[in-house]
């Protein structure tokens, strides 16, 4: 039925118009970019959420390798013990545990590669601290006490790292918004151009339609139907291409080292959002066509 309606007779020969032949392409590109931008923004947002969830409630204390000590291991062990003791005496701290050398090299492996290099480097000690859930710990005071008690000890509450991540996600979202805006602007311009050209080409027919009593609405509806068919076609193609691209990217990402990259995944609501662009584009195209036709016809007699 939809098919019959889409292909039904129109009084204006819009189908063969050179002016609108490129419209599906414009819409396809628009939807393609929109889907990629959306997916990028959503993934960035999700990753930040996931990281921040796993990082809140935890602290890391880093103890630098003491310089000029003759017996490095003993000095290091002493510092770690003193730090642990101080931490465990601090109210609000649930657990404090030094990471073993193996754990530290495992953390560094994705960046430095495994094996010999890591073993030979003098590595700082890391102490993983878990806070009592909901506890308010004065991190600034704790950091000061730590620095005073143990030389080379530094408290990291991941705040800077998280702040950077959030800034990154926001930037990704802003970029995505900008892309959506630009791409929508392009599509609107393309539709307006196609409609105007088409109206100019078919001025005679439009005039006849007017003279036999057609309202602007009647003429506009033909353009709307045409815009609907073209942009739906273009939009779905662009959408399909975008999904293929995303699938490819996801596949490439998963086959990379999983430790470095967060696993891409989207909630179903976000998938719904990804589903939107072809239909949003079609809606925009139809509305634009309608407004453009009324705008041009409104200036005719």
């Amino acid at each position: 039925m939809i098919r019959g309606w889409l292909s039904s007779r129109t009084d204006l020969p819009l189908k063969g118009d050179a002016a609108s032949r490129f419209l599906p392409w414009v819409v396809a590109v628009m939807v393609y970019l929109a889907v990629l931008a959306l997916a990028g923004a959503l993934l960035a947002r999700d990753s930040v959420l996931r990281w921040s969830r796993s990082l809140t409630g935890t602290l890391t204390v880093q103890i630098a390798v003491p310089a000029g000590e003759r017996n490095l291991d003993v000095a290091m062990a002493d510092r770690i013990d003193r730090t642990l003791e101080l931490l465990r005496r601090t109210p609000g701290i649930d657990r404090a545990q030094a990471l073993s050398a193996d754990q530290i090299s495992a953390l560094l492996e994705p960046w430095l590669g495994g094996g010999a290099i890591v073993d030979e480097l003098p590595l700082p000690a890391l102490i993983d601290v878990a806070l009592v859930p909901g506890a308010r710990v004065d991190l600034k005071a704790l950091a000061e006490r730590l620095a005073a008690a143990v030389p080379g000890a530094a408290l990291d509450d991941h705040g800077k790292w998280l702040k950077d991540l959030i800034r990154l996600a926001l930037a990704a979202q802003a970029a995505a918004g900008l892309i959506l805006l630009l791409v929508t602007g392009c599509a609107v311009a393309a539709v307006v151009f196609a409609v105007r050209t088409s109206l100019a080409i078919h001025r005679d027919v439009v005039e006849i339609l007017h003279l036999v009593g057609a309202r602007d609405r009647y003429i506009a509806s033909q353009f709307q139907r045409h815009a609907l068919a073209l942009s739906l076609k273009g939009g779905l193609s662009g959408w399909l291409l975008a999904l293929i691209t995303l699938g490819g990217a996801a596949w490439a990402l998963l086959s990379l080292d999983a430790a470095l990259m967060p696993r891409p995944s989207l909630a179903w609501l976000e998938w719904l959002l990804i589903l939107l662009p072809p239909f949003a584009a079609t809606g925009i195209a139809v509305l634009t066509a309608r407004l453009a036709v009324h705008n041009v016809l409104g200036r005719m007699i």
Binding site: R9, D11, I208, L209, H210, L211, V212, G213, Y218
Partner: protein, 212 residues
């Protein structure tokens, strides 16, 4: 009235077409018959003067008012003005479809009328494949299909032989009998003389009423 800054083609005409009347508009070529009709079918606005259609002053009409009035007016254009990519049937169906008529009715009425004007075999033909006379008959069929209150025909028999011309005039008379006001522009004296109707004669920018 005048075209874009040109001389006045016709001026100071005063006439009235009574509802249900039948008039010829005669006069030599170039006298302004088509221009006068264009004003009446609302394709041109008079540069000055008062035109009333169905009791409404056209100067007070906005764009939005025009379609409703135009639907009450059937026009046979001198140059036919058919839509080139539509078949004879679709061209004639236009006024009905624009008015939102049911498709089954549209087909029935249109094919009946097309048979009546002798185009039963050409219903699906495109205008370009038809002769001038055949296109003219499509144009006439389109003008009368909606049973307009006012029929304005500009040289509607200019491209057909006399036998068909007479037949077409009978069609206009039938329509007139059902209540349509008819105004036919023609410079074909012999044809006009065969039909006893009042005449508006336009010449040298002046209009003269002559009874049959």
């Amino acid at each position: 009235m005048s075209y874009a800054g040109g001389p006045e083609i016709v001026s100071d005409l005063t006439f009235q077409l009574a509802a249900g009347s039948f008039h010829f508009l005669t006069g030599p070529s170039g006298a302004g018959k088509s221009s006068l009709l264009k004003i009446l079918y609302l394709a041109l606005r008079p540069s000055r003067g008062i035109v009333e259609l169905f009791g409404r002053d056209v100067r007070t009409l906005g764009r939005a008012d025009l379609p409703a009035l135009r639907r009450r007016i059937g026009v046979v254009f001198q140059d036919f003005r058919l839509i080139p990519h539509l078949s004879a049937l679709d061209n004639v169906a236009l006024p009905l479809r624009i008015a939102g008529a049911k498709e089954a009715q549209v087909r029935e009425h249109v094919s009946e009328l097309l048979r009546w004007v002798g185009l039963g075999e050409q219903m699906n033909a495109l205008p370009a494949t038809l002769s001038g006379g055949q296109q003219q008959r499509i144009s006439i069929a389109r003008a009368v299909i909606g049973r307009p209150a006012l029929l304005l025909a500009d040289e509607p028999t200019g491209n057909v032989d006399d036998a068909i011309a007479v037949r077409l005039l009978y069609l206009f008379e039938e329509l007139n009998k059902m209540g349509t006001t008819v105004l036919i522009a023609s410079h074909n004296e012999s044809l006009v003389q065969r039909f006893p109707h009042a005449r508006l004669h336009l010449e040298g920018g002046r209009l003269e009423r002559r009874t049959a």
